[in-house]
């Protein structure tokens, strides 16, 4: 066994070996936790010392001012009661009224709704919802449409009316 206790005249400061382990551990700990020296990054002074407090402050729920509602409660109840009675008197038509149904709607209103409402359906798609027997084809076929109206319709809807090669009866 190596006799390393023979120092022959050498000595150490008092308590040197007692504190040696702590100092080495401290140094090793610091080195392993800090960035390598050749990396270039640094932090503000005392950043790590103050980090815990900063984090704690962020995690604690912030106190918000509580507004007591209890003392105002009875005023609210009284005000709400008066408002409710007023509404009952004014809004409810005491004389009774006809209940609205599909039949009471004017067809103009329905047309306006279909025209203006964004149904997302084309007129062909809408037509599919109408039962065939309700279409009353005869009513359309038997309708007496003036030639003038037909020409007006074609004029509005067709780009080049001459392409239709219509025969005009020149009377």
């Amino acid at each position: 066994m190596k006799d390393w206790k023979k120092h022959k005249g050498f000595k150490t400061p008092e308590g040197y070996f007692d504190s040696l382990t702590d100092r080495i551990l401290e140094k090793v700990g610091k080195e392993s936790q800090s960035a390598p020296e050749n990396e270039g990054f640094s932090t503000p002074d005392n950043y790590f010392e103050s980090f815990n407090d900063k984090l704690k402050a962020r995690m604690e729920p912030k106190e918000t001012k509580v507004v007591q509602l209890r003392s105002y409660r009875r005023y609210w109840v009284a005000a709400a009661s008066i408002a409710a009675i007023f509404l009952l008197v004014v809004v409810i038509p005491w004389g009774g009224t006809e209940e609205s149904s599909f039949d009471t709607l004017a067809s103009a209103e329905i047309e306006a709704y279909l025209d203006e409402g964004d149904l997302g359906l084309s007129s062909y798609e809408l037509a599919e919802f109408i039962a065939e027997d309700a279409l009353q084809e005869d009513a359309i076929m038997e309708m007496n449409i003036e030639d003038e109206n037909i020409m007006e319709y074609l004029d509005d809807t067709i780009d080049d009316i001459d392409e239709l090669n219509l025969d005009y009866d020149e009377e």
Binding site: S34, A35, G40, F41, S42, N52, L55, R58
Partner: protein, 180 residues
């Protein structure tokens, strides 16, 4: 140092949670800070992400099953938080991730908390050109000196894949430094 299992148990119990959490912060804050700092480069950004990481750890500790080591789990959270932070930053600035990396590396020259010399600055420029995965692996292996097995647990990638990523990263950095 307290055993990991005991610490996790204390973190999950209401009466011991506060003290255990403080111990957890004291043990890991510096290691996680430097891990985050190498990804986001800026000190203020690293500080934000580190706080978010600990808050997430605190809120998710009940879900920690112990399938991996506690520090691997925390490193994974820190990595994900850093990458999410960078994605948000690039969206805010309206630039893609490559442009953001270049901008971050260029900003180092004016950063009061970067005291590196020209070579260290060039090294950071070179790292900024690496794809995300290679950059993470390079930092964890080269600067943080983690073992491949540890990195594998954190990034959930095979050791073989990590070795290939590290090898490619070193090659790219070498050629960047030669060219510049």
């Amino acid at each position: 140092m307290i055993a990991e299992e005991t610490l996790v148990k204390q973190l999950k119990q209401k009466d011991t949670q506060a003290k255990a959490f403080e111990m957890l912060i004291n043990t890991y804050k510096e290691r996680l800070y430097w891990h985050i700092r190498r990804i986001v480069l800026d000190h203020d950004d690293a500080d934000d992400v580190l706080q978010n990481t600990f808050i997430k750890v605190y809120r998710s500790i009940d879900g920690f099953k112990g399938d991996s080591k506690l520090y691997s789990w925390m490193y994974r959270i820190a990595t994900n938080e850093s990458l999410t932070f960078l994605k948000q930053k690039s969206r805010k600035l309206g630039v893609n991730s490559e442009a953001l990396q270049e901008r971050m590396a260029n900003n180092l020259q004016a950063d009061v908390y970067f005291e590196g010399d020209e070579i260290q600055y060039q090294l950071q420029q070179a790292i900024a050109t690496l794809p995300e995965k290679q950059k993470l692996v390079f930092n964890m292996k080269y600067f943080e000196e983690l073992k491949y097995e540890e990195i594998s647990e954190i990034l959930e990638t095979s050791v073989g894949g990590l070795k290939a990523s590290y090898h490619l990263a070193v090659k790219k950095i070498e050629s960047y430094l030669k060219e510049n």
